[in-house]
Symmetry: C2
Subunit: 303 residues, 2 copies
């Protein structure tokens, strides 16, 4: 039996990290957007007369070693019943590159948890999602992606924590297109371990307060840009490109936290000019998608 | 501008009422199912140079007086900004009859809150949903429907309270059809005020514990039926009809809490025989729908 789960990519606009020794209480405050592109996870389970369970994981069709997919391996081992003997194959396909701030590791972990939960029926939805969150946090994949992804839409994390513990709100939004430009990797760990963390906390709290007072997508983009510039994270070439885009659209563009990537909300009619400018700038790898307002999907896959 | 919101019908399988003087802390524990049929709310807002705001509500095309739609009127007045002057028209269309246990009042209240929140952009999703929950509770429309409806699917309410306060989990479920047979009204107030309430609390807690140990749709139906019979709510003619249906399908049918209504989970291939038997029993008013696994929908409506 083949199960498929779709988890939206999640981009963070601003955030406040909340560390805790208990991974279920760790998480983040902040706001972000779930996208119509993301991670598809296909899981095939074969019950076999072998002595143990074997878990195999592949990224975009290529088998990966345990250490390179430690989060999803850990999730698969915990969600699969202890007494299960057989083969579990997990195929993860990503619409965005890894490490650029699109929540791929959370997408793979959550998709794995939901697909296996669906197959084995031994966990509830929140129990499966908590396992994904836990291994994300323990392995520093991310703090707030999993809980954001289970809510969809433009989300505001108002209380940090795992699914079932943290609280996520949503902003009402009309039809916007999301432009996402992955330009490079950024080490989350390096940023979180640096002095910048104080400024991130202060600016993140300020942005959250202001967004809750005026909860609109337009206000979100202004606050995101202020956060990106005030923390110093958006600078150099990335800032130059952001300014070029800003000349052509109504709302400010901003930086995806944490990747060397940009995003913007724009109207259908603003697209052609932006695409032309991106071509002039020599940027040919970008994505245009919608806001994903649904829950993750999981179900039996009939090719 | 015309806004449309769709809110799934919500049927309760078993429950434990949790009363509280603070309506945001009141709610229920229990489990239920969100359906692909439910309530459509269309909202039209006209800004006009009048001295005050006017709210008009219609049920299935017929204007209703304030006292007959007190929950939705209260929601509309609270979500609409105080300074707004003009006309607010709210058209609610119900797939199921009112008072039979399908969460219509919550559907109307939540649909109204989300549509107006979408239009005025002055509230977040949870703020709008909390207003719907509050007026549901204050006017004894229901305790757990609103929070169940915002999660969709087969849901388990594991902590009582309003959206953002209560916690709702979900069960993974394969493709089942839901048969729903509305047979009559039942006064929620009368049941909650009677001696039966002690038994409901005891049986509801027991069912919840057992469901969390084995969170499957199949177990849910067994527990629902035990709850319905052990509380004495399922009896007489309703119980006779349930037993007739049970002869034809794998899982036990049960009673919708709280209405004189029955429901069952069944496979596509079990349908024809059940429909034939219902015809023989002279029951021609029943619904066959799917499990609604999404969030409520709200957006601009372009006829």
């Amino acid at each position: 039996m083949l199960i498929r789960a779709f988890i939206p990519a999640h981009i963070t606009a601003f955030f406040v990290p909340k560390f805790n020794e208990n991974p279920l209480l760790a998480g983040s405050l902040g706001a972000g957007i779930n996208l119509t592109k993301g991670t598809n996870v296909f899981v095939s389970v074969e019950v076999e007369s072998v002595l143990e369970k074997h878990v195999h994981i592949a990224f975009n069709g290529e088998p990966v070693k345990r250490k390179d997919a430690i989060i999803s391996y850990s999730v698969a081992e915990e969600v699969t019943p202890q007494e299960f003997k057989g083969e579990v194959e997990i195929w993860q396909y990503f619409d965005f590159p890894n490490g650029y701030g699109f929540g791929n590791s959370a997408g793979g972990a959550l998709g794995t948890a939901l697909a296996l939960g669906y197959y084995f029926k031994n966990k509830t939805f929140l129990q499966a999602a908590q396992i994904a969150h836990k291994h994300e946090v323990l392995n520093k994949g991310g703090l707030g992606d999993v809980i954001a992804q289970i809510h969809g839409g433009i989300e505001i994390r108002i209380k940090a924590g795992a699914p079932g513990i943290g609280i996520v709100d949503n902003i009402f939004s009309e039809e916007y297109k999301v432009l996402a430009i992955p330009l490079g990797r950024l080490s989350t760990k390096e940023v979180l371990d640096s002095d910048i963390i104080r400024t991130i906390e202060k600016e993140g709290q300020k942005a959250l307060r202001r967004l809750l007072k005026n909860p609109t997508p337009e206000n979100l983009m202004h606050l995101a840009r202020d956060f990106a510039e005030n923390t110093g994270l958006l600078n150099g070439e990335l800032l130059e490109i952001a300014k070029e885009i800003d000349k052509l659209i109504k709302l400010p563009s901003s930086m995806i936290m944490l990747g060397k990537s940009l995003f913007a909300l724009l109207r259908e009619e603003e697209l052609p000019k932006v695409q032309e400018r991106l071509r002039d700038l020599g940027i040919d790898s970008y994505h245009i998608c919608g806001i994903y307002n649904e829950r993750p999907k999981v179900g039996r896959w009939i090719g």
